[in-house]
Symmetry: C2
């Protein structure tokens, strides 16, 4: 038996919550998708809400480990073209990785209901990105790659449009390729406007 059923339940919950939301998901279906019967789930979690809370715990931890810690910060590009490349790698990953997509969707669907989801959503969609790029742009300004300007403002101006495109991919996956092209076009526009020749 055993065999990480708890983790499999959480994975299935992420999948179902991200498609139908918390209220639109029922334990029967969730169990069935794992080849379990409903009551089996209650051997691992005491309630539907407990599954939700554990899933949020996991998402918060994952976010802190991968985006919140100083070690995992992306290296600062040493050229404007490097900024485009790095950006497109991040975009490509984030719109193709199923787990990341589902995490965004869940946060989108539960942001008005759950205080922790709301908080994580703002980090995920807004402040987390601007924080990362504020550091990057500060460095790039110091190196003379970008015009001297308010790095926070530039980070916001850079990440928000890309974030909007990512959300569009979540909503309309068939437009993913087009969105990626748009993201690259925007990135090149950005370095043309803010980049510094030397």
């Amino acid at each position: 038996m055993a065999n990480g059923t708890k983790e499999r339940i959480l994975a299935a919950a992420l999948e179902m919550f991200s498609q139908n939301g918390y209220a639109g998901t029922n334990i029967r279906e969730l169990s069935a998708s794992l080849g379990l019967v409903k009551s089996g789930v209650y051997k691992h979690f005491e309630s539907k809400e407990a599954i939700w809370n554990a899933l949020l715990d996991q998402m918060i931890t994952y976010y802190a480990d991968h985006f919140g810690s100083a070690e995992h910060l992306p290296t600062v590009p040493d050229s404007l073209e490097g900024l485009v490349t790095m950006t497109m790698q991040m975009v490509y990953f984030t719109v193709h990785d199923e787990k990341v997509i589902m995490t965004r969707k869940v946060l989108t669907l539960e942001q008005f209901r759950d205080a922790r989801a709301r908080e994580l959503a703002t980090k995920h969609f807004l402040t987390g990105l601007t924080d990362i790029f504020t550091r990057i742009f500060t460095s790039m300004m110091d190196k003379g790659l970008l015009r001297k300007d308010n790095p926070e403002m530039l980070a916001f101006a850079y990440t928000a449009p890309i974030s909007a495109l990512i959300h569009m991919c979540d909503r309309e996956p068939e437009k993913t390729e087009e969105a990626i092209r748009q993201a690259e076009a925007f990135s090149r526009h950005f370095i043309r406007v803010y980049g510094q020749e030397d």
Copy 2:
């Protein structure tokens, strides 16, 4: 009796759907909020889904009437400062008008489930805004107020960050004032970067 109960049901549905989503809303509560008993609702709509469809019809019509038609386009500002003013009026309205807020929230919550909601969400959050500002920026470039550039790209670069702030207001209403300040700061940053002196 009579007295526009159908419209009151739709208004209540908008309110509840925007807070708890379609699946998280039940007819009992909805009816009670109108001083009705559950079965009374079924004199006006044949099912919960019929309420949802009528609400979406209403939202689509409302959007087409107010943002989609050529007549309701905002007048092109005749100065850079005028662009900031016009933008801030739009922002101020959109983050304070309850009906508009609830419409955005509903589209956010149902975008992955309902094809029409998905389509309207992309219009509301992305393409609708860039279309409007593409026209405005084209005019402003012609008048020499903005540097010649790709007006679609500028419209996207301008509206996406503001849209992100609006979404943050929906999520965390207590940060509305701060978001408005950020929006104005961003708008001023934008005219400083792209504006043309003459």
